[in-house]
Amino acid sequence: MQQDGLILELQKGNQKAFERIYQLYSESTYGIIFSIIGEKDIAEEVLQDVFMKIWDNADSYDSSKGRFFTWILNIARNASIDKIRSKSFKNKKQNLAADNFVDILESKTNFSASSDAIGLKKYIEILKPVCKKLIDLLFFKGYTQKETAEELEMPLGTVKTRNRACINKLREIVGN
């Protein structure tokens, strides 16, 4: 649920509002960043940067252009992509940033303390391979509809409808 009042408070520079926004969005943002970067410590750094950007640039969020979540999503993806393109990252972590969200979920075997993640992993396996691809590109990697269509060699309209079906499945899995 998007809380417009909370966002307005954030834009006014209310630190309490920032805390609440952090609680609401930091974990999912961390997931997005981690799926792109694939390295915990660096992802953590980027997460911090992203929330600083959210604080500094809250004014530039315009609700008529889209969801607040989507706005954060874009900041997080851009910051992560900037990071993996940076020289320091390329020098150190060349082989890492390859996993997609499914690989990440699958690697969360028995070590995971989060039962949610174990459950999610189990159910994500139900998703068709094409769904995994679509969600990875569109959600985690921030591809446009057109880029996704080219990447997966499917018509533009099909991307939209197939993805819709995939998200319906996901909604069943996560239980709403």
């Binding site: 252009k65 509809q145 993805n163």
Partner: protein
């Protein structure tokens, strides 16, 4: 309503939440969402599902991670609750950090102390050294003077003329060692009292028939001269020597009331 159903099932709302639409398309969806609550509800459910998926992808132990992140954020955003475990760890790290800097600081202070102590003792030693050098030079000079005096007195050509105390100073005495080969008269003034301030002893050479005094010099620096032996030039055919107390700078002729010592040269 069928149109709305169709709109929802087109899949555009998912792309909207992804951020995969153009700005114009996004604005259109926003307008729809504001107009139709069922569209808004659908968008929120999509968003919720995606958020849960993203949370599932976040690395293990999000609690600890968030606590550590929050502690990093504190300078800009005060956070009230941090889990005790990580607090303890953060504190330990902080303590170790403080302890390390303290040790370093003490170490630096120690070095600094040592350094300035060394510097001080070096300066002290240098000062002592130069004082001693000065003393040695003084002693050498004294020794040299004494040697010269001794050599002068031992010279075969020397005549020793004792001067006796006179009316103003009956206990005073002096001795003139006169070398009439090189015309030097050494005045040993050990037996004269210290002259009062502003006055000076003046040495006279006297010839008797008629009595003619000739000044041969002043005993300058009387007080500071340790061995009280003064070398003066005397080219006169002296028959006697006298020492008077005169005002500073000396006088043309002796003040006879202030005649301290007097002695005649023994005939050869």
């Amino acid at each position: 309503m069928a149109e709305i159903e169709e709109y929802i099932s087109s899949g555009i709302l998912e792309l909207y939440v992804y951020g995969a639409l153009s700005e114009t398309e996004s604005r259109e969806v926003t307008n729809m969402l504001r107009e139709y609550p069922e569209v808004e509800k659908e968008v929120e459910e999509i968003e919720d599902a995606l958020q849960k998926l993203a949370v599932g992808v976040a690395p293990y132990n999000p609690e600890a991670l968030l606590a550590s992140l929050k502690s990093k954020l504190t300078p800009r955003t005060p956070v009230r609750s941090i889990t005790p475990e990580s607090t303890r760890r953060t504190k330990w790290v902080a303590y170790i950090g403080w302890a390390a800097s303290l040790v370093l600081l003490i170490g630096l202070f120690f070095l600094f102390q040592q350094n300035s102590a060394l510097r001080n003792s070096l300066t002290e030693a240098e000062t002592k050294n130069s004082i001693m050098e000065q003393q040695i030079a003084d002693i050498r000079e004294d020794a040299e003077n004494t040697k010269q005096i001794l050599a002068a007195i031992r010279d075969n050509n020397i005549s020793r003329i004792p001067l006796q105390g006179q009316g103003v100073a009956p206990d005073a005495y002096a001795t003139v060692y006169w070398n009439n080969e090189d015309n030097t008269a050494y005045i040993d003034a050990q037996g004269l009292p210290e002259p009062p301030r502003g006055q000076v002893y003046q040495v006279w050479s006297l010839t008797m028939q008629p009595l003619t005094p000739t000044s041969i010099g002043l005993l300058d620096d009387f007080v500071d001269d340790d061995n009280k032996i003064f070398a003066l030039q005397n080219a006169n055919e002296s028959e006697a020597f006298g020492i008077t107390l005169e005002p500073e700078g000396g006088s043309e002729s002796p003040t006879m009331e202030q005649l301290y010592v007097l002695g005649t040269v023994a005939a050869p």
